[in-house]
Symmetry: C2
Subunit: 187 residues, 2 copies
Protein backbone atom coordinates (compact mmCIF):
# COMPACT_ATOMS: atom_id res chain seq x y z
CA UNK A 1 0.00 0.00 0.00
CA UNK A 2 2.58 2.52 -1.08
CA UNK A 3 0.39 5.53 -1.77
CA UNK A 4 2.49 7.03 -4.49
CA UNK A 5 0.51 10.27 -4.36
CA UNK A 6 1.48 13.29 -6.40
CA UNK A 7 5.21 13.89 -6.56
CA UNK A 8 6.34 16.59 -4.16
CA UNK A 9 6.47 20.13 -5.33
CA UNK A 10 10.03 21.32 -5.92
CA UNK A 11 10.33 23.53 -2.87
CA UNK A 12 8.71 20.90 -0.71
CA UNK A 13 11.16 18.27 -1.85
CA UNK A 14 14.01 20.61 -1.10
CA UNK A 15 12.74 21.29 2.37
CA UNK A 16 12.22 17.63 3.01
CA UNK A 17 15.83 17.00 2.18
CA UNK A 18 17.02 19.84 4.35
CA UNK A 19 15.01 18.47 7.24
CA UNK A 20 16.35 14.99 6.77
CA UNK A 21 19.90 16.22 6.64
CA UNK A 22 19.46 18.36 9.72
CA UNK A 23 17.81 15.55 11.63
CA UNK A 24 20.51 13.09 10.67
CA UNK A 25 23.20 15.46 11.88
CA UNK A 26 21.51 16.28 15.13
CA UNK A 27 20.55 12.72 15.92
CA UNK A 28 24.13 11.66 15.39
CA UNK A 29 25.50 14.51 17.47
CA UNK A 30 23.01 14.74 20.27
CA UNK A 31 20.95 11.58 20.25
CA UNK A 32 17.36 10.78 19.53
CA UNK A 33 15.94 13.34 21.91
CA UNK A 34 16.93 16.58 20.25
CA UNK A 35 14.06 19.02 20.30
CA UNK A 36 12.28 19.05 16.98
CA UNK A 37 12.56 22.80 17.03
CA UNK A 38 16.33 22.50 16.78
CA UNK A 39 15.98 20.33 13.74
CA UNK A 40 13.72 22.88 12.12
CA UNK A 41 16.14 25.65 12.94
CA UNK A 42 19.15 23.85 11.56
CA UNK A 43 17.19 23.04 8.42
CA UNK A 44 16.23 26.71 8.11
CA UNK A 45 12.61 25.79 7.90
CA UNK A 46 9.73 26.67 10.14
CA UNK A 47 8.43 24.35 12.78
CA UNK A 48 5.13 24.12 10.95
CA UNK A 49 6.85 22.87 7.85
CA UNK A 50 8.68 20.29 9.84
CA UNK A 51 5.42 18.92 11.14
CA UNK A 52 3.98 18.90 7.68
CA UNK A 53 6.71 16.57 6.47
CA UNK A 54 7.32 14.52 9.57
CA UNK A 55 4.34 14.60 11.90
CA UNK A 56 6.14 12.43 14.39
CA UNK A 57 9.62 11.95 15.71
CA UNK A 58 9.38 8.34 14.64
CA UNK A 59 8.82 9.48 11.09
CA UNK A 60 12.29 10.95 11.21
CA UNK A 61 13.70 7.84 12.77
CA UNK A 62 12.02 5.67 10.19
CA UNK A 63 13.35 7.81 7.38
CA UNK A 64 16.89 8.07 8.62
CA UNK A 65 17.93 4.86 10.26
CA UNK A 66 17.15 2.14 7.77
CA UNK A 67 20.16 3.30 5.84
CA UNK A 68 22.39 3.15 8.87
CA UNK A 69 21.00 -0.17 9.83
CA UNK A 70 22.10 -1.56 6.53
CA UNK A 71 25.58 -1.32 7.97
CA UNK A 72 24.38 -3.65 10.66
CA UNK A 73 23.41 -6.22 8.07
CA UNK A 74 26.76 -5.76 6.48
CA UNK A 75 28.71 -6.57 9.60
CA UNK A 76 26.41 -9.48 10.30
CA UNK A 77 27.14 -10.97 6.93
CA UNK A 78 30.81 -10.24 7.15
CA UNK A 79 30.89 -12.17 10.40
CA UNK A 80 28.88 -15.06 9.01
CA UNK A 81 31.41 -15.36 6.24
CA UNK A 82 34.20 -15.83 8.74
CA UNK A 83 34.96 -19.55 9.08
CA UNK A 84 36.35 -19.27 12.61
CA UNK A 85 33.30 -19.22 14.90
CA UNK A 86 35.01 -17.46 17.73
CA UNK A 87 36.69 -14.86 15.62
CA UNK A 88 33.42 -14.28 13.81
CA UNK A 89 31.51 -13.67 16.99
CA UNK A 90 34.11 -11.52 18.68
CA UNK A 91 34.61 -9.53 15.51
CA UNK A 92 30.90 -8.99 15.26
CA UNK A 93 30.83 -7.45 18.70
CA UNK A 94 33.70 -5.13 17.88
CA UNK A 95 32.09 -4.00 14.67
CA UNK A 96 28.70 -3.57 16.21
CA UNK A 97 29.86 -1.34 19.01
CA UNK A 98 32.20 0.59 16.79
CA UNK A 99 29.15 1.42 14.75
CA UNK A 100 27.23 2.46 17.83
CA UNK A 101 30.07 4.56 19.09
CA UNK A 102 30.11 6.58 15.90
CA UNK A 103 26.53 7.70 16.05
CA UNK A 104 24.80 8.80 19.17
CA UNK A 105 21.44 8.36 17.53
CA UNK A 106 22.13 4.81 16.46
CA UNK A 107 23.35 4.14 19.94
CA UNK A 108 20.01 5.31 21.25
CA UNK A 109 18.07 3.32 18.71
CA UNK A 110 19.78 0.09 19.63
CA UNK A 111 19.68 0.65 23.35
CA UNK A 112 16.19 1.92 23.76
CA UNK A 113 13.00 -0.02 24.01
CA UNK A 114 12.56 0.06 20.32
CA UNK A 115 11.38 3.13 18.51
CA UNK A 116 8.13 2.46 16.73
CA UNK A 117 9.30 2.89 13.18
CA UNK A 118 8.55 -0.48 11.57
CA UNK A 119 11.53 -0.33 9.24
CA UNK A 120 13.77 -0.01 12.23
CA UNK A 121 12.12 -2.81 14.11
CA UNK A 122 12.55 -5.23 11.26
CA UNK A 123 16.17 -4.26 10.79
CA UNK A 124 16.77 -5.02 14.44
CA UNK A 125 15.15 -8.39 14.04
CA UNK A 126 17.37 -9.15 11.11
CA UNK A 127 20.35 -8.14 13.20
CA UNK A 128 19.20 -10.38 16.00
CA UNK A 129 18.95 -13.22 13.51
CA UNK A 130 22.54 -12.87 12.44
CA UNK A 131 23.68 -12.56 15.99
CA UNK A 132 21.70 -15.63 16.98
CA UNK A 133 23.38 -17.69 14.32
CA UNK A 134 26.81 -16.46 15.33
CA UNK A 135 26.12 -17.41 18.91
CA UNK A 136 24.87 -20.87 18.00
CA UNK A 137 27.87 -21.54 15.85
CA UNK A 138 30.30 -20.48 18.51
CA UNK A 139 28.53 -22.47 21.16
CA UNK A 140 28.49 -25.59 19.05
CA UNK A 141 32.15 -25.17 18.33
CA UNK A 142 32.71 -25.16 22.07
CA UNK A 143 34.37 -21.76 22.11
CA UNK A 144 31.54 -19.74 23.62
CA UNK A 145 30.02 -20.49 26.98
CA UNK A 146 27.21 -22.88 26.35
CA UNK A 147 24.54 -20.86 28.08
CA UNK A 148 25.06 -17.67 26.14
CA UNK A 149 21.95 -16.36 24.47
CA UNK A 150 20.64 -13.51 22.42
CA UNK A 151 19.16 -12.04 25.59
CA UNK A 152 22.64 -11.72 26.99
CA UNK A 153 23.68 -9.88 23.91
CA UNK A 154 20.75 -7.53 24.26
CA UNK A 155 21.77 -6.76 27.81
CA UNK A 156 25.33 -6.21 26.68
CA UNK A 157 24.17 -3.85 23.99
CA UNK A 158 22.35 -1.66 26.42
CA UNK A 159 25.24 -1.73 28.81
CA UNK A 160 27.58 -0.78 25.99
CA UNK A 161 25.28 2.04 25.01
CA UNK A 162 25.74 3.47 28.46
CA UNK A 163 29.49 2.99 28.45
CA UNK A 164 29.72 4.67 25.08
CA UNK A 165 27.74 7.64 26.32
CA UNK A 166 29.89 8.00 29.41
CA UNK A 167 33.33 7.36 28.02
CA UNK A 168 33.25 7.40 24.25
CA UNK A 169 36.77 6.03 24.08
CA UNK A 170 36.49 3.45 26.79
CA UNK A 171 34.20 0.95 25.18
CA UNK A 172 36.85 -1.28 23.66
CA UNK A 173 38.46 -1.74 26.99
CA UNK A 174 35.14 -2.56 28.62
CA UNK A 175 34.22 -4.97 25.89
CA UNK A 176 37.51 -6.80 26.03
CA UNK A 177 37.10 -7.33 29.74
CA UNK A 178 33.60 -8.63 29.20
CA UNK A 179 34.87 -11.00 26.58
CA UNK A 180 37.88 -12.24 28.49
CA UNK A 181 36.63 -12.07 32.04
CA UNK A 182 38.34 -10.78 35.12
CA UNK A 183 40.56 -13.72 35.89
CA UNK A 184 44.31 -13.31 35.59
CA UNK A 185 45.35 -14.30 32.09
CA UNK A 186 45.85 -18.01 31.99
CA UNK A 187 46.16 -18.46 28.28
Amino acid sequence: MVTASRPLRADAARNREKLLAAAAELFAERGLDVPLEHIARRAEVSIGTLYKHFPTRDDFVGAIFPERLAALDAIGEKALADPDPWHAFAGYLEDLYALQAEDRGLNDVLARDLPNAPEVVSACHRGAGHAGTLIERAVEAGVLRADYSIADLAALTRAMAQVIRDVPDGWRRFLSIYVEGLGARNS
Copy 2:
Protein backbone atom coordinates in the same frame (compact mmCIF):
# COMPACT_ATOMS: atom_id res chain seq x y z
CA MET B 1 30.90 25.48 60.90
CA VAL B 2 27.72 23.73 61.94
CA THR B 3 25.40 26.69 62.29
CA ALA B 4 23.27 25.26 65.05
CA SER B 5 20.72 28.04 64.64
CA ARG B 6 17.45 28.03 66.52
CA PRO B 7 15.88 24.61 66.82
CA LEU B 8 13.11 24.17 64.32
CA ARG B 9 9.61 25.03 65.27
CA ALA B 10 7.49 21.94 65.93
CA ASP B 11 5.41 22.07 62.77
CA ALA B 12 8.46 22.84 60.72
CA ALA B 13 10.31 19.85 62.07
CA ARG B 14 7.33 17.67 61.30
CA ASN B 15 7.14 18.90 57.73
CA ARG B 16 10.83 18.43 57.27
CA GLU B 17 10.46 14.82 58.25
CA LYS B 18 7.50 14.31 55.98
CA LEU B 19 9.44 15.77 53.12
CA LEU B 20 12.43 13.60 53.80
CA ALA B 21 10.30 10.49 53.98
CA ALA B 22 8.47 11.33 50.79
CA ALA B 23 11.67 12.12 48.97
CA ALA B 24 13.31 8.91 50.14
CA GLU B 25 10.37 6.88 48.88
CA LEU B 26 10.13 8.57 45.55
CA PHE B 27 13.87 8.55 44.90
CA ALA B 28 13.92 4.84 45.60
CA GLU B 29 10.90 4.16 43.42
CA ARG B 30 11.43 6.52 40.52
CA GLY B 31 15.00 7.67 40.65
CA LEU B 32 16.68 10.95 41.28
CA ASP B 33 14.67 12.90 38.76
CA VAL B 34 11.21 12.87 40.26
CA PRO B 35 9.62 16.29 40.02
CA LEU B 36 9.96 18.14 43.27
CA GLU B 37 6.26 18.84 43.05
CA HIS B 38 5.58 15.14 43.42
CA ILE B 39 7.63 15.04 46.56
CA ALA B 40 5.70 17.95 47.99
CA ARG B 41 2.43 16.29 47.13
CA ARG B 42 3.33 12.99 48.68
CA ALA B 43 4.51 14.81 51.79
CA GLU B 44 1.22 16.71 51.87
CA VAL B 45 3.04 19.97 52.01
CA SER B 46 3.03 22.88 49.63
CA ILE B 47 5.72 23.42 47.08
CA GLY B 48 6.73 26.62 48.82
CA THR B 49 7.36 24.76 52.02
CA LEU B 50 9.44 22.24 50.22
CA TYR B 51 11.68 24.98 48.89
CA LYS B 52 11.95 26.52 52.30
CA HIS B 53 13.43 23.32 53.70
CA PHE B 54 15.36 22.06 50.70
CA PRO B 55 16.13 24.85 48.28
CA THR B 56 17.86 22.44 45.98
CA ARG B 57 17.45 18.90 44.80
CA ASP B 58 20.95 18.25 46.04
CA ASP B 59 19.85 19.23 49.51
CA PHE B 60 17.55 16.25 49.42
CA VAL B 61 20.23 14.02 48.07
CA GLY B 62 22.66 15.20 50.70
CA ALA B 63 20.14 14.58 53.44
CA ILE B 64 19.02 11.17 52.30
CA PHE B 65 21.92 9.27 50.84
CA PRO B 66 24.65 9.43 53.42
CA GLU B 67 22.68 6.90 55.40
CA ARG B 68 22.38 4.58 52.44
CA LEU B 69 25.98 5.05 51.58
CA ALA B 70 26.91 3.77 54.99
CA ALA B 71 25.85 0.40 53.64
CA LEU B 72 28.51 0.88 51.04
CA ASP B 73 31.15 1.29 53.71
CA ALA B 74 29.79 -1.80 55.38
CA ILE B 75 30.18 -4.01 52.36
CA GLY B 76 33.61 -2.55 51.71
CA GLU B 77 34.73 -3.49 55.17
CA LYS B 78 33.12 -6.86 55.03
CA ALA B 79 35.07 -7.58 51.87
CA LEU B 80 38.32 -6.29 53.30
CA ALA B 81 37.87 -8.69 56.18
CA ASP B 82 37.72 -11.63 53.81
CA PRO B 83 41.12 -13.30 53.64
CA ASP B 84 40.61 -14.72 50.15
CA PRO B 85 41.42 -11.87 47.78
CA TRP B 86 39.37 -13.18 44.91
CA HIS B 87 36.36 -14.06 46.97
CA ALA B 88 36.57 -10.68 48.65
CA PHE B 89 36.58 -8.81 45.38
CA ALA B 90 33.88 -10.85 43.69
CA GLY B 91 31.72 -10.70 46.78
CA TYR B 92 32.14 -6.95 46.89
CA LEU B 93 30.79 -6.65 43.38
CA GLU B 94 27.78 -8.79 44.19
CA ASP B 95 26.99 -6.83 47.30
CA LEU B 96 27.50 -3.50 45.63
CA TYR B 97 25.14 -4.16 42.78
CA ALA B 98 22.60 -5.86 44.98
CA LEU B 99 22.50 -2.62 46.87
CA GLN B 100 22.11 -0.62 43.70
CA ALA B 101 19.38 -2.88 42.44
CA GLU B 102 17.31 -2.28 45.54
CA ASP B 103 17.15 1.45 45.20
CA ARG B 104 16.65 3.27 41.98
CA GLY B 105 17.87 6.48 43.55
CA LEU B 106 21.08 4.96 44.79
CA ASN B 107 21.54 3.45 41.39
CA ASP B 108 21.32 6.94 39.92
CA VAL B 109 23.65 8.40 42.49
CA LEU B 110 26.36 5.87 41.78
CA ALA B 111 25.97 5.98 38.03
CA ARG B 112 25.67 9.65 37.44
CA ASP B 113 28.39 12.21 37.19
CA LEU B 114 28.31 12.81 40.85
CA PRO B 115 25.58 14.80 42.50
CA ASN B 116 26.99 17.84 44.19
CA ALA B 117 26.15 16.99 47.75
CA PRO B 118 29.54 16.93 49.48
CA GLU B 119 28.55 14.17 51.90
CA VAL B 120 27.76 11.97 48.97
CA VAL B 121 30.95 12.76 47.17
CA SER B 122 33.09 11.85 50.13
CA ALA B 123 31.19 8.61 50.67
CA CYS B 124 31.90 7.70 47.08
CA HIS B 125 35.55 8.44 47.56
CA ARG B 126 35.62 6.22 50.59
CA GLY B 127 33.95 3.52 48.56
CA ALA B 128 36.50 3.94 45.83
CA GLY B 129 39.22 3.59 48.44
CA HIS B 130 37.94 0.23 49.60
CA ALA B 131 37.48 -0.93 46.08
CA GLY B 132 40.97 0.17 45.16
CA THR B 133 42.45 -1.88 47.96
CA LEU B 134 40.41 -4.92 47.00
CA ILE B 135 41.63 -4.63 43.44
CA GLU B 136 45.27 -4.26 44.46
CA ARG B 137 45.07 -7.23 46.74
CA ALA B 138 43.51 -9.45 44.11
CA VAL B 139 46.00 -8.34 41.49
CA GLU B 140 48.94 -9.00 43.74
CA ALA B 141 47.58 -12.41 44.57
CA GLY B 142 47.54 -13.08 40.84
CA VAL B 143 43.84 -13.85 40.69
CA LEU B 144 42.66 -10.67 39.00
CA ARG B 145 43.87 -9.52 35.63
CA ALA B 146 46.89 -7.38 36.27
CA ASP B 147 45.67 -4.34 34.38
CA TYR B 148 42.38 -3.97 36.20
CA SER B 149 41.86 -0.56 37.70
CA ILE B 150 39.39 1.52 39.60
CA ALA B 151 38.43 3.19 36.33
CA ASP B 152 37.28 -0.16 35.01
CA LEU B 153 35.15 -0.57 38.05
CA ALA B 154 33.64 2.85 37.52
CA ALA B 155 32.73 1.91 33.98
CA LEU B 156 31.26 -1.34 35.18
CA THR B 157 29.21 0.48 37.74
CA ARG B 158 27.63 2.72 35.16
CA ALA B 159 27.02 -0.20 32.86
CA MET B 160 25.42 -2.11 35.71
CA ALA B 161 23.25 0.86 36.50
CA GLN B 162 21.87 0.65 33.00
CA VAL B 163 21.37 -3.09 33.15
CA ILE B 164 19.58 -2.75 36.45
CA ARG B 165 17.26 -0.13 35.02
CA ASP B 166 16.46 -2.24 31.98
CA VAL B 167 16.14 -5.67 33.51
CA PRO B 168 16.01 -5.44 37.28
CA ASP B 169 16.44 -9.19 37.63
CA GLY B 170 19.09 -9.68 35.02
CA TRP B 171 22.03 -8.04 36.65
CA ARG B 172 23.47 -11.10 38.37
CA ARG B 173 23.62 -12.90 35.11
CA PHE B 174 25.30 -9.98 33.40
CA LEU B 175 27.78 -9.60 36.20
CA SER B 176 28.71 -13.24 36.25
CA ILE B 177 29.45 -13.14 32.56
CA TYR B 178 31.60 -10.05 33.03
CA VAL B 179 33.47 -11.77 35.80
CA GLU B 180 33.96 -15.08 34.04
CA GLY B 181 34.22 -13.99 30.46
CA LEU B 182 32.65 -15.44 27.36
CA GLY B 183 34.94 -18.37 26.81
CA ALA B 184 33.57 -21.87 27.22
CA ARG B 185 34.18 -22.93 30.81
CA ASN B 186 37.62 -24.32 31.03
CA SER B 187 37.90 -24.60 34.79
